[in-house]
């Protein structure tokens, strides 16, 4: 009895809320900068792989959506679960669905209402902007190397060689002058023997000093070459193996500007960035380039029949060739670098958006890791985890001395080896 009453009361509350809901400000698209900015991030992370604001892409252009959709609530429901809306027999939903060849939009159940409104806010602001606004891409230049720049070193070396040559010439003059002076004097037999002994190539090459010098130089250079050679063992910089499917990052990440995180879903969450499983490809490729032989390979992997649009359930995982091989003894976590530190993918993976075939851009040696940990400042912005550390660092080293990864133990063994 009590339960029944409680249930009725809660039904009343819910319906009251639903009734009042439209009048709440939550269901109007906000206009403040904060929301627009938030919306931009959300848009880029979630929508951008299929939608553009002003162009028709995989999905419709979003500009002017407010004039087309029945209501804001409808939009929210659509974004959250379009399939449900279509199934409910909603007229406009079915119209769109059919217009886009019955391609299903991904359900974004994890987005909150406010977040969807923020996205809409961004779309409205963006749509209002004049066309062809040039997009300025800023790129951080590489920090100049510490110490004496290499150009100077070359100049110094050349200068020294010139000086040495000049010295040689001067010495030659001195020798010939001395010879002439000596020739004009009367010399004893012994002295003559010394003076007239010919300095030929063979006397020089047979001199112990020369032999020592040559052996020393050969050994040093040889040793250096061997060491350098040994250091390159296992370093696969530039490694660009042929992959089972000719997937082009240039087309996806470059031309179509699909966000990296759209496919590499683990990059913010954990150790592995994740090579996308074919079901992610299928979000778009049920519609796009369905006739391509490369796409057919995806269909084969996931057991999809494009003719009927059905899945057989028989799957065969795609065996990609691993490019970035970090040894088992080293622990690397993408979330730490991408999520916490906010490092761009390109910092380590290079101009991935230009790569037709992906290659290993960085050295991926321990020295390379360490180098970056020495130079990189800890990204403690809005991260309470680092607050105390930054405060203590500034107390001891001064405000202008930025806290580097190395300062908080970024070079310690057990950060990567355990």
């Amino acid at each position: 009895m009590m339960n029944y009453r409680a249930a009725r009361f809660s039904i009343f509350l819910i319906s009251a809320f639903l009734f009042l809901a439209p009048s709440l400000s939550a269901q109007t698209v906000p206009t403040d900068d904060e929301s627009v900015k938030n919306g931009e991030t959300l848009f880029k992370n979630n929508c951008y792989s299929c939608h553009r604001v002003k162009e028709k892409w995989t999905g419709p252009a979003l500009a002017g959506y407010q004039n087309r959709v029945p209501s804001i609530e409808w939009t929210i429901a659509w974004v959250k679960n379009s399939a449900k809306l279509i199934a409910s027999g909603d007229e406009y939903a079915n119209k769109i669905y059919n217009e886009y060849n019955k391609s299903q939009m991904t359900a974004f159940t994890n987005l909150k209402d406010e977040e969807i409104l923020d996205i809409l806010a961004y779309v409205e602001v963006e749509a209002a902007k004049p066309d062809a606004a040039p997009v300025v891409v800023t790129e951080d230049g590489a920090a100049p190397a510490a110490g004496v720049p290499s150009a100077y070193i070359n100049a110094i070396i050349i200068g020294m060689i010139v000086i040495l040559l000049l010295l040689l010439v001067v010495l030659g003059f001195i020798v010939s002058t001395l010879k002439r002076v000596v020739e004009n004097r009367n010399l004893s037999e012994e002295e003559k023997e010394v003076v007239e002994s010919p300095i030929t190539l063979s006397t020089v090459t047979r001199s112990p000093g020369f032999i020592f010098l040559v052996i020393f130089l050969v050994t040093t250079v040889g040793f250096k070459t061997v060491i350098d050679g040994l250091f390159t063992i296992g370093v696969q910089q530039g490694y660009a193996p042929k992959q089972p499917i000719a997937f082009s990052h240039k087309i996806h990440a470059g031309e179509n500007e699909v966000n990296c995180k759209y496919c590499h879903t683990g990059v913010m969450k954990g150790k592995q960035a994740n090579i996308p499983s074919p079901n992610i490809c299928m979000n778009c490729h049920t519609q796009i380039k369905t006739e391509s032989p490369e796409i057919k390979k995806i269909y084969a992997a996931i057991g999809y029949d494009p003719a009927t649009g059905t899945y057989s359930g028989k799957t065969e995982p795609i065996k990609w060739v691993r490019i970035h091989n970090i040894p088992d003894l080293a622990y690397f976590n993408h979330a730490q670098h991408v999520n916490v530190a906010g490092i761009e993918c390109q910092t380590c993976h290079g101009p991935i958006e230009e790569m037709e075939v992906v290659y290993q851009y960085s050295l991926l040696t321990m020295g390379w890791c360490i180098d970056c940990h020495r130079k990189t400042e800890v990204n403690g912005k809005d991260n309470a985890y680092y607050d105390k550390l930054i405060q203590l660092h500034e107390q001891s080293k001064g405000k202008n001395n930025k806290m580097k990864v190395e300062d908080i133990g970024g070079l310690e063994c057990a950060k990567c080896h355990y």
Partner: protein, 1033 residues
């Protein structure tokens, strides 16, 4: 005071055995004559040349490695991120509510479930090790008919046809099992019985408590075992009940018991525990007062205690032998003084003793206080009489069909051999064991069950307390859940046990606990929590047992022969998990023996029998004659063993078990006798004869010695602690600087460190540590520690990162190696000390490593970098705690260790490895890392959520496994962390983040404080609740 005590790790140290002296200063044994450990110089050059060539060739073309993503990624599985599932460990009547950690669909670790009201997050060594049993190579790959593989349809049709034929002729059908905890399984069996009216369900237990059930039936009218609550007891008397180790519900009892053993300056109180027993059990080792008695005296102790209490209460007394037994009177007086806060338990399976104990507890007002009859437990429901009758029926040819559900009576029942021989005459015999064990081999059909980690199930460990099991992995082999088999054979078609359990929960519990949720939400919540608990309904009990009848049947000591105690092994338990190397290599808490089976004998009996144990575990075998059974086992001389008694463990001597446990020990089950209608685990009149056969038992007890340094164990009595909590501190070692004696930590050669972020530390309470060894197994599983096998343990090359040192001590000023001490050794006190890398702030290992492979972190960790280590072993040499382990061999991918270490040497076994931890290779040193992988994960989670790390987010594997909560790990820089609170840490103003924190807890000390290495592990002194002894004049 404590410091005048003498501590010794084993008898060889006490008797100054020449072998012990020889090896005392050596951490590792020198390679033997026949052991080809190294290679000649020539080999070295040859290998060098080859490997150079190999390296240069390898450099030409790197091997191609594949990266294979899911074809269709499950939504909730992210590679590299573990998933956790609440489930339940059920092994016969052994129960533990657990959380299973899986990585990419493979269970890799089992932890306790804190939501359970029964086990409350605790685990045991067997629970921790069970994850490896999932990947046991000996598991059946699919159903078998006879010796031939078959498929399920064929098996089903044949079994159903035979059942129908037998039922038609009115033949008897039996389902035999251990205790069934699952109400749904019982419902399945009921359905089966409904289909076949001649079917009966027979339950038995390897460690039977049938005597208790019968005693309670006689005393109170219902056959039940109540819940015991040790946490409410001030005086605990246990008559041979090993409640911390094996008795009824050890995980639960350990937790309760530990709660009464926590002592602080604010709460200087603890329980007092009396133990009367024959073998030195884990529980006895933790007792304040331990009296060694013969098993035949257990009844005498109970009766004498009853008589003393009865005289105080004005009740009639019993006829009891009057021979004086130490501490009986003292215990009885204290019990009486603490009425309502006292508890008496007895381990005996003799009904008579249990009736008397019930009477004692009634007099003490325990029911309703320390004993909760409203929560009967279901851990042991076995009926010895029914089981005995069943075996007689089989041998008499009266049984038509028998189905063994998850049990192995051919091995683990005293009459197993008879049963095994008679099974071939039974028309239909089916075993659902997941391995081809003794019973399955003797049965015609093998219908292998899933491992529990692959199964759906439910359990009712206590009345009104339920839990669910869910699969954490898809079935690995062509197995089928036994309940499903029973449903199918019971004519329910292709039934789905998952749906069956779900339907049951809907019918039984949804109405009561649904709280307005829809059923799916209710089910999801139950599954998420793993447990569902209802409040208890109070019951009232009136004792109406016949005490005089009970007293009259008490067994009395028999003249002649030894008395033999048959006990469950702490490692392999009752033998069902014998093929698990984690358990075989877990040192027995008391004897510290691994991979071996032995009979424990007392020191004086060893003298009489001419048995001589040396420091290397060399001993002689004894032939024991029990009735018409004869077994030959090595003898192990055990301090604390009652003279005239012997002890032998169950769980060994398996014959159909797989490579790991093959050929270890003898089967002790046939030695079990009968008393008062139930199995008796103590038999009298045993003859023992020394044989000429020599044997070497692998024991870790005197490995890793401290070179005569003191200050390892600190202990005190409660009385002394109350008077002056810091007394031991005042007497502890001092060093002399240039003018005066100072505290050793005040002087240092080093500048110390500043830990600005975290300062990880650990506190281990020697008072609550029971020595059970769950932490050791948990550490092994978490950190991919290699098992090395018996030979290598003998060579002192065990790899455990965490060991539990067991010290005997005698309250005596007598010097080491004296006769007087040897007498004290007949019944010594015991201290357990978990010993692991102490993460010294001034670590001696770090300064001697020539390649800086072991370094210090900015969070106080002593880091070990395997890829840098070149194996000089200087660090191990310089470690005062002897906690570093060297990889003498490549333990993975090495056929030599196939048997001992399947987790690294078989495809199947490797699934258990923790991907977060490197598998170490030959020639490198390793040691406890403070579970650095867990620290890093915890920190990363905090960073991802942009917040500071919370206390309790990072817990080490050993801490998680510890049922008694003896291990506390945390950030000592965080003032609110548990460790800071426990140790009462305050930061010194001059250097707040430095290594020298002020420790306020008077019990905290560091091992070998005087050498100034300043460990980050603190121990809390052992406090015994003993009266001050009057010094003999």
């Amino acid at each position: 005071m404590s410091n005048t005590k003498t501590y010794w790790k084993g008898l060889p140290q006490l008797t100054n055995d020449p072998e012990f002296v020889k090896h005392a200063d050596k951490e590792f044994v020198e390679p033997g004559k026949n052991e080809d450990l190294g290679h000649s110089r020539r080999d070295f050059l040859r290998m060098m040349g080859f490997s150079m060539a190999a390296v240069s060739l390898a450099a030409c073309e790197a091997p191609i490695r594949k990266a294979i993503p899911y074809a269709n990624k499950p939504e909730d599985v992210d590679p590299g991120i573990p998933n956790y599932y609440a489930s339940t460990y059920i092994n016969g009547g052994d129960y533990c509510s657990i959380v299973v950690k899986t990585r990419e669909g493979r269970p890799i670790k089992v932890d306790g479930n804190g939501l359970s009201g029964v086990t409350k997050g605790g685990t045991s060594a067997q629970v921790e090790a069970s994850v490896l049993s999932l990947y046991d190579n000996y598991r059946l790959r699919g159903p078998k008919a006879g010796d031939k593989s078959t498929d399920w349809q064929t098996l089903d049709s044949e079994v159903i046809a035979k059942l129908a034929e037998i039922a038609a002729q009115g033949g008897q059908i039996r389902i035999v099992s251990n205790t069934v905890l699952s109400p749904s399984t019982k419902a399945v069996i009921e359905r089966f019985k409904a289909k076949y009216p001649t079917a009966q369900h027979v339950q038995y237990d390897q460690a039977s408590t049938y005597g208790m059930l019968k005693a309670n039936e006689e005393s109170f009218g219902t056959a039940f075992i109540p819940s015991y609550d040790f946490s409410k007891a001030k005086t605990i008397v246990s008559i041979a009940a090993d409640f911390i180790g094996t008795w009824v519900s050890p995980i639960e009892f350990t937790k309760q018991y530990a709660a009464t053993r926590e002592v602080s300056a604010e709460k200087p109180e603890m329980s007092r525990h009396y133990q009367f027993e024959s073998i030195l059990s884990l529980t006895g080792a933790n007792a304040d007062y331990r009296t060694a008695i013969k098993p035949s005296e257990e009844g005498t102790v109970a009766a004498q205690i009853y008589n003393i209490l009865a005289s105080k209460a004005g009740a009639a007394s019993l006829a009891a032998p009057a021979n004086p037994i130490e501490h009986v009177e003292k215990a009885a007086n204290e019990l009486w003084a603490n009425r309502g806060k006292a508890l008496v338990v007895a381990g005996s399976n003799d009904k008579a003793i249990q009736v008397i104990v019930n009477a004692i507890n009634t007099l003490l007002d325990s029911y309703g206080n320390t004993i909760d009859a409203s929560r009967p437990v279901n851990f042991r429901q076995g009926n010895d009489e029914q089981m005995g009758a069943f075996i007689n029926e089989v041998t008499g040819g009266k049984i038509g069909a028998v189905i063994f559900y998850g049990c192995n009576p051919v091995y683990d029942h005293p009459k197993g051999a008879e049963l095994g021989a008679a099974l071939k005459n039974v028309a239909l015999s089916v075993s659902t064991s997941s391995t081809e064990d003794e019973t399955a081999s003797a049965s015609a059909y093998k219908a292998p069950d899933h491992h529990y980690l692959e199964s759906w199930n439910d359990a009712e460990p206590k009345k009104g307390m339920y839990s669910l099991s869910q699969p954490a992995i898809t079935k690995i082999f062509r197995t089928r859940q036994a309940q499903e088999s029973l449903l199918v054979w019971g004519g329910n078609g292709q039934a789905d046990y998952f749906e069956f359990v779900k339907e049951n929960w809907k019918n039984w519990f949804y109405g009561k606990a649904g709280n307005g949720m829809d059923f799916q939400s209710f089910w999801d919540k139950c599954l998420y929590d793993g447990v569902l608990e209802f409040p208890a309904e109070p019951v009232s009990l009136t004792f109406k047992g016949d005490l005089n009848a009970a007293a009259a049947t008490l067994s009395s000591a028999q003249a002649g022969g030894y008395e033999l105690v048959i006990y469950e092994s702490y490692g392999v338990g009752n033998g069902s998990q014998a093929n698990n190397p984690l358990l075989q290599e877990l040192p027995d808490p008391i004897t510290k023996a691994v991979w071996d089976h032995y009979v424990t004998i007392s020191i004086s009996d060893a003298g009489k029998l001419g048995i001589n144990n040396d420091a290397e575990g060399r001993t002689q075998k004894l032939t024991l004659t029990v009735g018409n059974q004869k077994v030959t086992v090595p003898a192990l001389v055990q301090p604390g063993q009652k003279q005239g008694t012997m002890g032998i463990a169950l769980g060994y001597g398996r014959t159909k078990v797989g490579k790991v446990a093959e050929g270890i020990g003898v089967n002790a089950y046939p030695l079990i006798g009968m008393a008062n209608g139930s199995l008796s685990y103590a038999v009298a009149g045993v003859k023992a004869e020394k044989t000429d056969e020599n044997f070497q038992i692998a024991q870790t007890q005197i490995h890793q010695t401290y070179m005569g340094r003191t200050n390892v164990i600190q202990e005190s009595t409660l009385e002394e602690f109350k008077e002056n909590p810091k007394e031991w501190l005042e007497k502890s070692a001092k060093i002399t600087d240039w003018e005066k004696k100072v505290d050793p930590s005040a002087v240092s050669l080093w500048k110390g460190h500043d830990y600005k972020n975290h300062h990880w530390g650990m506190a281990i309470d020697l008072n609550t540590c029971t020595g059970c060894g769950a932490c050791v197994v948990a550490c092994n599983v978490e950190n991919n520690v290699a098992m090395v096998g018996k030979e290598e343990v003998i060579n002192r090359r065990e790899m455990h990162w965490l060991r539990i040192d067991r010290y005997y001590s005698s309250a005596s000023d007598a010097p080491m190696n004296s006769k007087e001490l040897e007498q004290a050794a007949e019944n010594p006190e015991v201290v357990f000390q978990p010993m692991l890398c102490q993460h010294c702030n001034n670590a001696p290992c770090e300064t001697v490593c020539p390649v800086a492979a072991t370094t210090h972190s900015s969070e106080g960790l002593n880091q070990m970098t395997y890829n840098r280590c070149i194996g000089t072993r200087y660090c191990a040499n310089n470690c005062p705690y002897k906690v570093r382990r060297f990889n003498w061999f490549k333990y993975h991918h090495n056929q030599q260790f196939y048997q001992a270490n399947p987790a690294m040497n078989t495809e199947l076994g490797r699934m258990v490895l923790n991907p977060e931890v490197t598998v170490r290779s030959r020639g490198v040193m390793e040691k406890c890392s403070f579970c650095v992988q867990r620290i890093q994960t915890g920190k990363l989670n905090a960073k991802k959520e942009r917040r500071p790390l919370k206390d309790g987010e990072v817990i080490t594997a050993c801490q998680a496994a510890c049922s008694s909560g003896a291990i506390v790990f945390g950030d000592m820089n965080d003032e609110n962390s548990r460790i800071s609170q426990l140790l009462d840490i305050s930061k010194p103003e001059e250097r707040p983040y430095g290594i020298d924190k002020k420790i306020g807890n008077p019990r905290a000390y560091r091992v070998l404080e005087e050498i100034g290495v300043k460990p980050n592990i603190f121990y809390l002194t052992k406090v015994r609740n003993k009266d001050r002894e009057k010094k003999a004049v």
